[in-house]
Structures are given as C-alpha cells and as structure tokens.
C-alpha cells in the first residue's frame, strides 16, 4: 500500500463528504418527523406543507450520496473498513430517505384529520410514540457521529417498546372506531400515522445495524448480554 499522502487526504475528503451528507439527511429527517407529528397534533396546515416540501432535500441528498459513492468506489477501489464506510453510507441514506417519506406521509394526513374531533388522548399517545421513535433516531445518528457501538445493541430492545406502544394505540383506535362509525375516517388516518411512526423505529434499527457493521465488520449480535430486563416494559418515554 503506498498511496501518496495527497491520495489519502483526497480520500478522507471523500469520506467526509459522505458523512456530512448523512448528517444533513439525518437532521432533516429528524426535523421532518417531529414537525409532521406537530402539524398533525396542532392541525397546522402550513407546517404540514413545509414538511412535504422538505422531502425534496432528502431525495436530492440520497442521490448525491449514491453518485458520489459509486465514483469513490470506482476511482479508489477501497477495501475493508473504507469500503464498509461507503456501503454503509448508501444504506443509511436509503433508510433516512424512507424516514423522510414516512414523515411526509404523516404530514399529508394532517389536513385530513384537521377537524380534530378526536379525543386529545389519541394525539397524546401518537406524540408519545413519535418521541420514542425520534429518540431512537437520535441515538443512532449520534452513534454515527461518535462511532461508539456499545449502546447500539439496546436500540433493538427499545424498538420492541415501540411495537408494544403501537399495539396499544392500535387497540385504542379500533375501540373508538367501533364506538362511533363517524370516527372511522379520522381514526384510520391516525392508525396509518401510528404505523408510519412504528416503521420509522424500524429504520432506526436498520441504521443501528449498519453502523455496527461499519465499525466492526460484523453483524449486530441478536442476543445481547442479558440485563434481566427482557420481559419488562420500560416505561421511560417522554410525555
């Protein structure tokens, strides 16, 4: 291996480009999800519009990352960790792009439930669910920044919390629909929103797995060191 030092520097620059694009995408995706949920809860049509518009940023960034990644691979033929870094960026950007789509979809439903005749409780539940998903997203993107993998294995556990919470919301929404058929349309939208949020959590888990792979070259272990907390529901979601 004797690449000139300017080669190394140029390659560093390439990787920097990728990671800074990921950061941009991450920041936008986080913002879109939280704004979309806020638009939904507050029936804020203007905010919903801006979320829908922001999705283009993610689409563009994903394309930039793909193009750049292909170029880097072709030009520099990286190996091992460097290659993982690049493939990882492609995978993470695909997940973030999906997160953006899901956020956009939530925003689109904001106007459909704008009359807000549904009980406050439902919106509270949705917010709590979104906060769980956002916390996951933040955790994995922070891990991408720090490259520390120790906490990533717990992301998958917390994804189960999201599933439990989603199931609880699902039942509650069904109950409302059965109580009064007039609730059906709005509740169906809320149901899809909850489903979207649950899937955002899944994408966060994917990203966790990708980061683990980038840093270690291994798949994230399915079994984690037992914490005696396996069967319990961790009640620590922000309100």
């Amino acid at each position: 291996m004797n690449r000139g030092s300017h080669m190394v520097r140029a390659f560093d620059e390439d990787l920097r480009f990728l990671s800074s694009k990921i950061a941009t995408m991450g920041g936008h995706a986080e913002r879109m999800v939280s704004d979309a949920v806020r638009a939904l809860v507050n029936s804020d049509a203007g905010l919903a519009e801006s979320v829908i518009a922001a999705d283009a940023v993610l689409d563009d960034a994903e394309r930039d990352i793909d193009d750049k990644a292909v170029l880097i691979i072709a030009r520099r033929q990286p190996m091992a960790q460097d290659l993982r870094e690049i493939i990882g960026a492609i995978r993470i950007s695909a997940d973030l792009e999906r997160v953006g789509d899901l956020g956009k979809n939530i925003a689109k439903r904001a106007s459909a439930v704008a009359d807000k005749s549904q009980p406050v409780r439902l919106y509270r539940g949705l917010e709590a669910l979104a906060d769980l998903a956002l916390a996951q997203l933040k955790e994995v993107l922070d891990a991408y920044a720090s490259r520390s993998v120790d906490r990533l294995v717990y992301v998958r556990d917390r994804d189960e919390q999201i599933d439990v919470m989603y199931t609880s919301m699902f039942r509650e929404l069904l109950t409302y629909m059965m109580e009064d058929p007039r609730n059906i349309t709005a509740c169906t939208h809320l149901l899809f929103c909850a489903k979207n949020i649950e899937r955002i959590g899944d994408h966060a888990t994917n990203i966790a797995e990708t980061i683990f792979y980038i840093s270690t070259g291994k798949q994230m272990p399915l079994e984690r060191p037992k914490d005696d907390e396996a069967n319990a529901v961790i009640v620590d979601q922000p309100e």
Partner: protein
C-alpha cells in the same frame, strides 16, 4: 489509510493553537465585544479566553497530549497555566463547544457533555448538531465571524431549549465558540401553564361540581335534616381532600418539570430509603391486610440521588401495590445489584400478587392522569399523577422504571438506578 481523525489531529491543532497564542489579544477583544452584546455570556467568554490562553500555553511547550485525558498530563508548570482554563470551562453551567474551521470539535466543556452526550475532540460538529438551523449557524459563524440562534430546541430524550451564540475566538487560527444558554425555564413555564389548564381544570371540575351540588342540597332540601347534613359534610370533606391531593401532586410535578435534567450528585443509601418507606407505610399495609417481605443484600448500596425524591418514588410504588393489589395479600420488596445498559446499577423491585395490569395499558400508566380503572383509583384516593411523578424523578436520576405484569398474577415495578451518575 482509514479516515482516522485521531491520527492527524495533533499536528494540525498544535499549529493552529500556536497561531492562537499570537492572537490572544484579538480573542480578548472579540470576547469583550460579545460580552457587551450579550452580558449573559460573560462567564463563557472568560472561560473561552482562558481556555485559548491555556491551550496556547500547551502548544508553546509543544506537548499536546493525545488520548482521553488531555490536559491532565502536563508538567506542573503547564498544569498551572492549563488547568484553570479547563476547570473554569468545566465549572460553567452553560454548555460550551469550541470547534475549528473544518467543523471538528476541539473542546467541549462538562456542561456540554452532560447536556448533549459524547462530544469528543475530532468529532464533526454537524454530525452531532444536525438540526438544519444549527448547521446553518455553524456555517455562518465560520463565514462571518459571529452569529446567533434565538432558539435551539431538542425534543428527545428530554425537552430542552437554548439560545445559542457563536463567535470566532480566533479567526486566523480558525477556532470558533458555540455558547448555549438555557431558555428552558421560560418555555417550561409556558407549557406547564397550558398543561395545567388542560388537565387540572378538568380533574378539579368533578369534585368541585359535587361540592357545589351538596351545597345546594344543604341550603335546600336538606335544610332541616341534620342526619343528611352530617353525611353530606363527610362527603364534601372527602372531595376537598381530593382537591388538595390533586393540587399537591400537581405542584410536585411542576417543581420536577422545572429541573428535568439537573442531576443529583449526593450519594444516598438505597437500603435506608427503601426500608424507611416500608416502615412509614406500615399502617396502610395493615389496613389493607397485606404482609410485606423484604430482601436486601449486604454491603454498600449507594447511588447518586436526591433523598426526598427517591422517598417519593418508593412511597408511590409501594402504596400503589398496597392499594391496587390488595387481593394478593402479599408484597415483596427487594434490592439487588445488576447491569443495566451495560453499567452497574441498583434495582429495587416491588412485587405484588394482585390483579395485574393488562398489557396494552402498561406503556401508558406513567402518563398524567392515566388510570387503568378510574373508579378504583378514585376510591383509593388516587390522583393519577403518582407514576408520572415517579417517572420524572427517575428521569432526573438517569434511572428507569420497568413494569412486568400478568393479569391475575400480579405486577412487579422495578426501579433501576445507575450507581454512577456521570454516565449518560
């Protein structure tokens, strides 16, 4: 050939930092201007100045230490010049981050690490502060030499608001400072007020309506009926008690909400607290016909914590077990050491053998005013705020509440408290 930031940092920094030394005067001027414009930043500005002075001193002796314990390895001569800067920066309550032209973090004070988690030198700033307006702020300060952001808001894991000022500390060498000042108090007061109106008015209306109903009856149909009067007064007393409890709990909750992440630092003895709470609730246990078993291990069982708040946590959990799981006749309180998220922790479990909580309710019982069965809670003098208070206190302690429950068999509430408070 990896993008190993750590390896190429030192020389670049050393160079930059020695440039920094030559521009200390300029730095001082910049900071002085900042202070004039924003008096709240005085402390940050002084620390920033001393920090640059300190690292410049280090650069002069060209002994830039690598690795984690930067700044603590110099000779005593360096140490004298260097330590006060870092110590000062670390003593600040306000988060402060210094970064370079490449947007890589050079230094973050303790408050910053406490507030935002890992911020290691060499980490790219925009990877950590990803919010579009923050990225923009950083780009702007590099371009213009100063910039500020009225509001930086983080929603998870704890909701926080900051005003952020950014300034070039040393434009030639390319060092920049981000100073955060907490705006959370204001926002939390606003939020609390609207929450209070939304929740409390609703909760207070029921007892209030009942009392006013009885007042009418006392003045009308029951005017000449002493027996009925006596009965109604008892009920009215119960209703005012309920309102008083509600207000007490709401006040506790709002006090906690005002300081959600100021972390307790005194060590407290968990065994002491838990057994104390069991003693203090002996009457309730007897009243409900419940026998209590206690299992505590030997040895040191200390965590960083606030004694009064932890007492409140265990009082709430234990009284819930006595009230809602009466049918089990037995409650087991135990303490054990365990690992939680990979760190040493102490777990306190309160296990009952009552009717349990249906699974779909579990994730939601810490929400304000959420009860599985409103009527039972009311009969048991509940407010629906107990577990919400518990959750807030545990958040502050970086702790967790785990709930396992099976309908018909009982529930176990476990409080997990990290043994070391400095872990995020």
């Amino acid at each position: 050939m990896n993008d190993n930031a750590g390896n190429r940092q030192p020389s670049r920094w050393t160079q930059k930092l020695s440039e920094a030394r030559q521009t200390l005067v300029a730095v001082f001027l910049v900071l002085a201007v900042m202070v004039v414009l924003e008096p709240r930043l005085l402390a940050a500005a002084i620390a920033g100045f001393l920090l640059v002075a300190g690292v410049a001193a280090l650069a002069r002796s060209s002994r830039w230490p690598t690795g984690k314990n930067q700044g603590l390895q110099g000779t005593s001569a360096d140490t004298k010049e260097l330590l006060p800067a870092r110590l000062l920066a670390d003593a600040l309550d306000d988060p402060m981050v210094i970064f370079d032209r490449e947007m890589d973090i050079v230094f973050a004070n303790k408050a910053a690490i406490l507030a935002f988690g890992e911020l290691t030198p060499g980490m790219a700033l925009p990877l950590k502060f990803r919010a579009p307006e923050m990225v923009e702020l950083v780009a702007r300060v590099i371009r213009d030499g100063r910039a500020s952001l009225q509001e930086y808001h983080e929603r998870v894991p704890i909701e926080r608001w900051y005003q952020v000022s950014a300034a070039a500390v040393d434009r030639a060498g390319g060092l920049f400072l981000l100073a955060f000042s907490d705006r959370g108090e204001l926002r939390r007061i606003e939020k609390m007020r609207s929450d209070f109106i939304a929740n409390a008015s609703h909760e207070l209306r029921t007892p209030l309506a009942s009392i006013s109903g009885f007042i009418e009856t006392l003045g009308g149909p029951a005017r000449n009926d002493p027996a009925a009067q006596k009965k109604f007064l008892v009920i009215m007393k119960a209703q005012t008690d309920r309102m008083a409890r509600l207000i007490d709990d709401l006040l506790s909750l709002s006090r906690l909400e005002m300081k959600p992440y100021s972390r307790p630092d005194k060590l407290v003895d968990i065994r002491d607290i838990v057994s104390g709470v069991v003693r203090s609730l002996e009457n309730l246990a007897t009243e409900q016909g419940i026998s209590v078993e206690e299992h505590y291990p030997d040895g040191r069982l200390e965590v960083p914590g606030d004694r009064d708040e932890l007492i409140q946590v265990f009082e709430n959990l234990l009284s819930n077990a006595y009230k809602y799981a009466q049918s089990g006749k037995r409650v087991v309180v135990s303490i054990e050491r365990r690992k939680s998220d990979g760190a040493d922790a102490i777990a306190v479990s309160i296990q009952d053998f009552g009717q349990g909580i249906p699974r779909e309710h579990i994730p939601r019982i810490t929400e304000r005013f959420y009860r599985v069965d409103v009527e039972t809670s009311r009969v048991q003098k509940g407010t629906g705020l107990g577990l919400s208070i518990v959750k807030h206190i545990l958040t502050r302690h970086r702790g967790k509440l785990l709930v396992e429950s099976e309908v018909g068999k009982g529930s176990t509430f476990t409080v997990v408290l990290p043994e070391r408070g400095d872990l995020t």
